[in-house]
């Protein structure tokens, strides 16, 4: 009896992590030659780096109990701006930093609309996403930007340091930074307080508007960085290149919420969530599972995760 409770507690605390390990084990047993090799594992970290970075942004916005559905559109825009700047011969650092700054402001604008008019972030950012998609299309002429892209622009996406891809390093660094911010700074504490109970936060004297706006702004910046990383890796930028990350970023955050007891969005969980999605995609591709079946599997897993979250938190209440 006691042992059962122990297992239940273990599953509740580490269920998602255990699921991730099981997935790795299954692929390793089925395809030890192709899946469980150093080269492929490093490859996976590179593949998930973009998803993790954009999902970090979604994690911040979700920690204040809001949604930013424009993350994909911002990523597309960021990629196009940076590629255009690179083609125009702008300094590579500037061509990375500028789109991030612009998107920081776009995110802040998202937040301002939501907080000052008290409208639903869901629909506001969805509409913003459409606005940005139109703008990106105009900027790119609807075509992929790939001609005359200087090699220096591709450095970010292709370089490795001591065998570790630069993209992987950026991902890990950002995870550490934002984990620290959310867990150990007053700003992070305030974000979680707002997400936990916005009324009580107001009573406690927290500037809810300002903190929410900042969460949206940081989300915008991280989304644009994802777009830049993508363009650099591919050596080209497509006007809808970042769109695909939108669904998966939220899938990662929701999976990640199941990793911690409180069921709140958190950096470690988001990383695990993105890893599960990335490993599945990688492993299933190696197994030559058709992509449509991959989509079905991924979707089912996300639904199961959300249900698991509800069931376990429901017991706690």
């Amino acid at each position: 009896m006691k042992k059962n409770l122990g297992i239940e507690k273990l599953m509740r605390s580490y269920g998602t992590v255990i699921a991730c390990i099981i997935i790795i084990l299954v692929f390793s047993i089925l395809r030890p030659d192709a899946f469980f090799t150093i080269k492929n594992l490093i490859n996976i970290t590179r593949q998930i780096s973009l998803l993790v970075v954009i999902a970090l942004g979604a994690t911040l916005v979700m920690s204040v109990d809001e949604f930013d559905l424009s993350v994909g559109a911002v990523a597309s825009l960021g990629g196009i701006i940076s590629a255009k700047l690179a083609v125009a011969g702008v300094n590579p650092v500037l061509s990375i930093v500028l789109p991030i700054l612009i998107s920081f402001l776009i995110g802040y604008l998202n937040g301002m609309i939501v907080t000052s008019f008290k409208v639903l972030s869901f629909i506001t950012t969805l509409a913003m996403s459409t606005v940005l998609a139109g703008f990106t299309f105009w900027l790119s002429g609807g075509a992929t930007v790939f001609e005359n892209i200087p090699d220096s622009f591709k450095y970010l996406g292709s370089a490795s340091i001591l065998g570790i891809p630069l993209l992987t390093a950026i991902m890990l660094l950002l995870c550490l930074i934002f984990r620290f911010i959310l867990n150990h700074t007053p700003f992070g504490r305030r974000l979680y307080a707002i997400g936990g109970n916005v009324n009580a936060s107001l009573v406690s004297g927290i500037d809810v508007v300002h903190n929410k706006n900042l969460a949206f702004a940081l989300c915008g910046a991280l989304s644009a960085l994802t777009g830049v990383m993508l363009a650099s890796r591919l050596g080209s930028a497509h006007p809808t290149g970042g769109d695909g990350y939108f669904m998966n970023s939220y899938a990662a955050v929701f999976l990640g919420r199941t990793v911690v007891k409180e069921g709140i969005p958190n950096v470690w969980g988001t990383f695990v969530g993105a890893a599960i999605l990335g490993i599945l995609a990688n492993g299933l591709t190696i197994m030559q599972v058709p992509s449509y079946l991959q989509d079905v599997l991924t979707g089912v897993i996300i639904i199961l995760a959300v249900i698991a979250q509800k069931v376990t938190s429901g017991e706690d209440m």
Partner: protein, 495 residues
């Protein structure tokens, strides 16, 4: 006898909200139901409409024992309620709202017969003497018109008992007159009316008999013609007298918080003035809906203020915000701790330090050791029963949760405490501890504003009692030889 209840009892968390209630309503009578805040009126109505199930007791309807299992059953019996908060669907028009829960009229082939529905609603409203536009959405109707629409809906089906819960709260004199005429008409037709209100003059104007409730029990039922307002008020309270010694011992100093003619933007607080002195516990008492909570929220800066002046430590404080209130040493203990005070998924420690988290940070990083130390100190000081400062507050009992709220308030070393029902749903021991804490603070030179709907408690802790009626401050009573009857008389007999 149309309705008779026998020994109805209902407990919440081990506390009786209703005990052995025997209510008798005759066919065709207008029956008044009065009682102090929390006397059990709402609980009784909710049992009759199957929102709650009674723990004990039976309902006898029209001579037969009946179990009211769900709201539909209640409506089928002919019991209809009109609540304070008008329950309409804002986007539906008058006809659609009148037909809520009813089968729509249909033509052959299942097409909705709007014309027939309209005719039926209009016929009913004409017979009641109500004129309104039934084609516009309910959200565009004025609050009084919405109440009238609720009445029409209640009378769409055969109504044998109409329960009106504070129906005139938002009505102007004109609509009140219409309502009273409708009640008379219903009475002529043989419908019984249960009329719940705080307004005694309406009770005496309308009713045949009056039932008075007190502490979840029925204090008595009297014929209206044989009673007086004084008699009803006397029945409402145990006439608890204040302990004259409690207030006078304290050393009361100069004014610390002065509020003059405060009004809130939403119009709930109309004209409130208080004068809080150092070392004083100022009780504020008013009936439900008088604007007590809203007044404290306006002072604190949570609710937009539209007029009036606040002076805090003889400094002008024109635009209060929660942040600056905390910085200036004025804290608010909210009525609803789950909704307004605590971050439920947070630990005790994080809840306690939230408003002053910057104090525990060095170079933008939280110093968790010093945070933990302070939280642990508060835990000990207030005797909060827990598994340590890292326990989630949602796992604590109500009393301990409220102590966490106080622990947080004390973090900013406040001089003014605005307490709104600070002992609501806490155990007796915690209640005593909270009273003692507030007295200690007052003795050390703080000022405390104490709001409670429990009059006995207000008389127990306050030095002075400010009466509030309908968003306006009225008499200021010295809590000396004061009885609950005196206080209630000021609340009920205010014109």
């Amino acid at each position: 006898m149309l309705l008779r209840t026998k020994g109805l009892s209902k407990q919440f968390n081990g506390i009786y909200a209703l005990k052995d209630v025997d209510l008798k309503i005759k066919a065709g009578e207008v029956h008044g139901l009065v009682g102090e805040n929390g006397a059990g009126k709402s609980t009784l109505i909710k049992i009759l409409t199957a929102v709650y199930k009674p723990d004990n007791g039976t309902v006898i309807w029209d001579g037969t024992e009946t179990e009211i299992t769900d709201p539909l059953k209640s409506r089928n019996l002919g019991i209809n309620v009109i609540h304070q908060d008008r329950q309409l669907i804002p986007s539906f028009n008058g006809i659609e709202n009148a037909y809520l829960g009813l089968e729509y009229e249909k033509k052959r082939g299942g097409i909705i017969d709007w014309e027939k529905m309209k005719r039926r609603v209009l016929k009913l409203s004409e017979s009641l003497g109500i004129e309104m536009d039934f084609t516009v959405p309910a959200s565009l109707l004025s609050p009084p018109q919405q109440t009238l629409l609720c009445i029409i809906r209640a009378l769409m089906t055969e109504c044998r008992l109409l329960i009106l819960d504070e129906p005139t709260a938002s009505l102007t004199d004109k609509e009140t007159a219409i309502l009273f005429r409708i009640i008379r008409k219903l009475k002529e037709k043989g419908t019984s009316v249960l009329y719940v209100t705080h307004r005694l003059e309406e009770i005496f104007f309308l009713t045949d008999r009056i039932t008075v409730m007190k502490n979840g029990r029925i204090a008595g039922t009297v014929d209206t013609s044989e009673s007086s307002e004084d008699m009803i008020i006397r029945m409402m309270t145990d006439n608890w007298e204040s302990r004259t010694s409690s207030g006078s011992r304290r050393n009361i100093g100069e004014t610390i918080l002065k509020a003059e003619h405060i009004s809130s933007k939403d119009g709930i607080v109309k004209d409130m003035s208080i004068d809080l002195k150092k070392g004083e516990i100022l009780g504020i008492f008013g009936l439900g809906g008088s604007g007590r909570t809203e007044f404290l929220e306006t002072l604190y800066g949570l609710r937009p203020k539209s007029g009036g002046g606040i002076t805090l430590y003889s400094e002008d404080y024109p635009q209060p915000t929660p942040k600056s209130s905390i910085q200036k040493g004025m804290v608010l203990i909210n009525e609803d701790r789950r909704k307004m005070s605590l971050i439920m998924p947070f630990s005790i420690r994080k809840n306690i330090t939230l408003p002053v988290i910057d104090k525990y940070s060095k170079a933008g990083v939280i110093d968790e050791k010093s945070e933990e130390g302070h939280a642990a100190e508060k835990l000990k000081m207030l005797d909060i029963k827990s598994n340590g400062t890292d326990q989630t507050v949602s796992e604590l009992s109500g009393g301990n949760q409220q102590k966490v709220v106080f622990a947080r308030a004390l973090e900013s070393d406040p001089k003014v405490f605005l307490c709104d029902e600070p002992t609501q749903a806490v155990d007796v021991k915690t209640r005593y501890e909270i009273h003692r804490l507030l007295r200690d603070r007052a003795d050390s030179g703080c000022g405390v504003v104490f709001v409670s709907s429990d009059l006995k408690e207000v008389l127990e802790v306050s030095d002075e009692i400010q009466i509030i009626v309908n968003g306006r401050s009225r008499e200021l009573l010295k809590n000396r030889d004061l009885s609950s009857e005196d206080v209630l008389r000021y609340c009920y007999l205010d014109r």
